[in-house]
């Protein structure tokens, strides 16, 4: 499904390593299967040729790794960025979270990433091989003699179904063709929640958030969560908890996190991708994005470096707090 080839990425990485532009490469490393891909740092052409992979399961957003990688490294690091990753990249730069001088960013087009859970819903367990063939994934399992064809579109990750942009907003070099910002339908699900009665909405979130196991994966993967010491990890903060002591706290953790990233969340969708309990956490963030758009005008975090987010800015046109209060009557 991806239009840009593995070979062209490896070739680019090898040439940048060899001509000394970069000293390391942040990329995707092959796993045991064709879908369990690990972010990794490559330091030689041999490593790249042996283990680098680019396929329909390279969902991980590398932007956040730049915080620790540029902090430690002497030389430049090459990072491959899909369009959605570039928004996180810009947002982190806006917040001065990594050293731009130490990064060589290569923008790569993305046709959307597949969700292995959706693939498994179609073909079941026991996958031994997944190959890309045009618009299809060809999946071999140990249970069927013949491989099963799955249309990529049918197994796209939720965030890719609602892709907001195929345009890169940051790079030093672009491979392949540039895309466009897309009029996505990403707020449809938020609207569905807004239309619920407060009781229904509470029940919805209670059902979802009660599944939370407090693994912190959503926070740890989030490019907007880059505090060196999270308040929830600090035993002296008084709010540190490895588990919710009651069901109210469960909700508070996620709601506090959503508030903390409000106006900074680019809607990259990593939180929901990594949640081991399949909680649609991105919907909390999207609600904030939708509200900010409606209250203060369209705003996309990370669209440009240095943008002043509406929540930390003041204009005479700003909404009066009372208007927000009045919206309660509309269930929103």
């Amino acid at each position: 499904m991806q239009k840009i080839t593995l070979e062209s990425l490896v070739e680019k990485a090898v040439s940048l390593l060899e001509n000394g532009t970069v000293t390391s490469v942040l990329g995707w490393k092959k796993g045991e299967f064709d879908y369990d891909i690990t972010p990794a740092v490559f330091e030689s052409a041999d490593e790249l040729k042996k283990d680098f992979v680019w396929n329909d399961f390279c969902g991980a957003n590398f932007s956040k790794y730049l915080v620790s990688k540029t902090c430690k490294s002497e030389g430049k690091i090459l990072v491959f960025l899909k369009p959605c990753d570039t928004y996180s990249f810009n947002q982190l730069l806006t917040e001065h979270r990594f050293d731009r001088e130490k990064v060589y960013a290569v923008g790569i087009p993305c046709e959307g990433m597949a969700d292995i859970n959706k693939v498994k819903e179609v073909v079941g367990d026991g996958i031994s091989k997944i190959e890309s063939n045009g618009d299809d994934l060809v999946v071999t399992t140990i249970y069927e003699d013949a491989p099963v064809k799955v249309t990529c579109k049918d197994v796209l990750a939720e965030r890719c179904v609602n892709c907001k942009s195929k345009r890169h907003v940051a790079y030093d070099e672009l491979l392949g063709e540039e895309g466009e910002v897309i009029a996505s339908e990403r707020f449809d699900e938020v609207e569905r929640l807004e239309k619920m009665t407060p009781e229904e909405r509470f029940a919805f979130w209670q059902n979802e958030l009660s599944k939370c196991i407090r693994c912190n994966a959503c926070r740890d993967v989030c490019p907007a969560c880059t505090c060196e010491k999270c308040v929830f990890d600090n035993p002296n903060s008084g709010v540190e908890n490895k588990a919710a002591s009651n069901s109210f706290e469960e909700k508070m953790f996620h709601i506090i996190r959503a508030f903390h990233v409000a106006g900074r969340c680019t809607d990259c969708g990593e939180c929901s991708r990594v949640c081991p309990q399949n909680i649609p956490l991105h919907l909390l963030n999207r609600k904030f994005i939708k509200d900010i758009n409606e209250f203060y005008g369209e705003y996309q975090a990370g669209a440009e470096v240095g943008l002043r987010a509406p929540l930390v800015d003041y204009t005479l046109e700003d909404l009066e707090p009372g208007e927000v209060f009045d919206r309660r009557d509309n269930n929103a």
């Binding site: 740092v41 026991g126 196991i213 993967v221 002591s245 309990q277 399949n278």
Partner: protein, 341 residues
């Protein structure tokens, strides 16, 4: 050996539920299976395994241990334990059944954990053989037979029938109370076992070797330069430890409940920055050290202290759930030398 028809499973579960409360894997709104209390209308999930492991029944994520009330200079300590009734966990896979043995070796040695012990004594385990294992399964590496799992009762599900075999007195007692199970010979089950074994041999991880791990390997593995690459992109989240059926670390804390103090314990994760924090600080300062701790514990330290038994059961949950797809199989293949090439 006893059997019932597949369509009669609900009435059999209803009868078991009369003897003791039954929990079974049920599909949730997200299509994933979790253990739920049995009730009329709840369907036994077809999923291979539950999202969370079955360890929750004996070692829950949080549990209140005791309460304190103070009046003047007196402190009253209140025992709040309420585990008095037997319960049945139905549909536990072979990997999770083995995890109970691994937890037992931690919680049931001196000083015995009486909270864990009470639940363990009240729990009756009905395991089920794995008709359709996943590519992420590697229980075979730890000597677990998915075609013939342990437990008080073992169940095999074929297209037409469900077969029941009691393995312990507890299990036999329970099955005796169930009407509608008919005696049968072992032919169908033997056939099913052979079928499962054939599948197990075809699994991509069927040949995963534990040869290079186990007791006495600490010095050899601890300073391996491979830990750096393996832990390089670890996020430091607790997903692997919390979906793991054998991770057993916990923290004990207190909170003010308004009228008094409640002491509770909750799962802890060696991946967390404040894990085993002491007055002098955290002994493992980097994520590399914390990451290494988890795998050394499962593959070296645990077997060293427990007759060579590994602290992993090959359920594959960490393979499916790790946000960066780093897991024990990749660690074993990277550190495991030529046996795992």
């Amino acid at each position: 050996m006893r059997k019932c028809l597949v369509e009669d499973i609900n009435s059999v579960l209803a009868q078991i539920n009369k003897a003791a409360k039954v929990y079974l894997p049920v599909d949730g709104t997200d299509g994933k299976a979790r253990f739920e209390e049995w009730a009329e209308g709840k369907e036994w999930s077809n999923a291979l395994n539950t999202e969370r492991s079955a360890k929750d029944f004996f070692f829950p994520q949080t549990e209140n241990l005791m309460e304190f009330k103070t009046e003047g200079k007196n402190i009253e300590i209140i025992d709040i334990r309420s585990d008095k009734d037997d319960f049945v966990i139905f549909g536990v896979r072979g990997c999770d059944v083995r995890s109970f043995d691994i937890l037992d070796r931690v919680f049931l040695v001196e000083p015995i954990d009486s909270f864990y012990k009470a639940r363990r004594e009240h729990g009756i385990i009905i395991s089920v053989a794995c008709g359709r294992p996943s590519e992420t399964c590697f229980c075979g590496a730890f000597g677990i037979d998915a075609s013939n799992p342990a437990g008080d009762v073992t169940v095999w599900r074929t297209k037409e029938a469900v077969y029941w075999q009691s393995n312990t007195d507890k299990g036999e007692e329970l099955l005796k109370k169930v009407e509608g199970l008919t005696d049968c010979d072992e032919a169908a089950v033997e056939e099913e076992k052979a079928k499962i074994k054939k599948i197990m041999d075809k699994l991509p991880l069927a040949n995963l070797s534990t040869e290079d791990f186990g007791a006495g390997k600490t010095m050899e593995l601890f300073d391996s330069d491979k830990w750096k690459d393996l832990s390089e992109s670890c996020l430091g989240c607790g997903t692997c430890t919390f979906v793991c059926p054998t991770c057993q670390c916990y923290d004990i804390k207190e909170f003010n409940a308004g009228k008094g103090v409640v002491r509770f314990r909750c799962w802890d994760s060696c991946m967390y920055s404040d894990f085993t924090q002491m007055s002098a600080g955290q002994p493992r300062l980097s994520q590399l050290e914390r990451f290494r701790q988890r795998f050394m514990h499962k593959l070296v330290y645990y077997p060293e202290r427990n007759d060579g038994i590994y602290g992993c059961v090959g359920c594959g949950r960490c393979l499916a759930k790790c946000p960066i797809s780093m897991n024990i199989v990749k660690v074993m293949k990277s550190l495991g030398g030529k046996d795992n090439e």
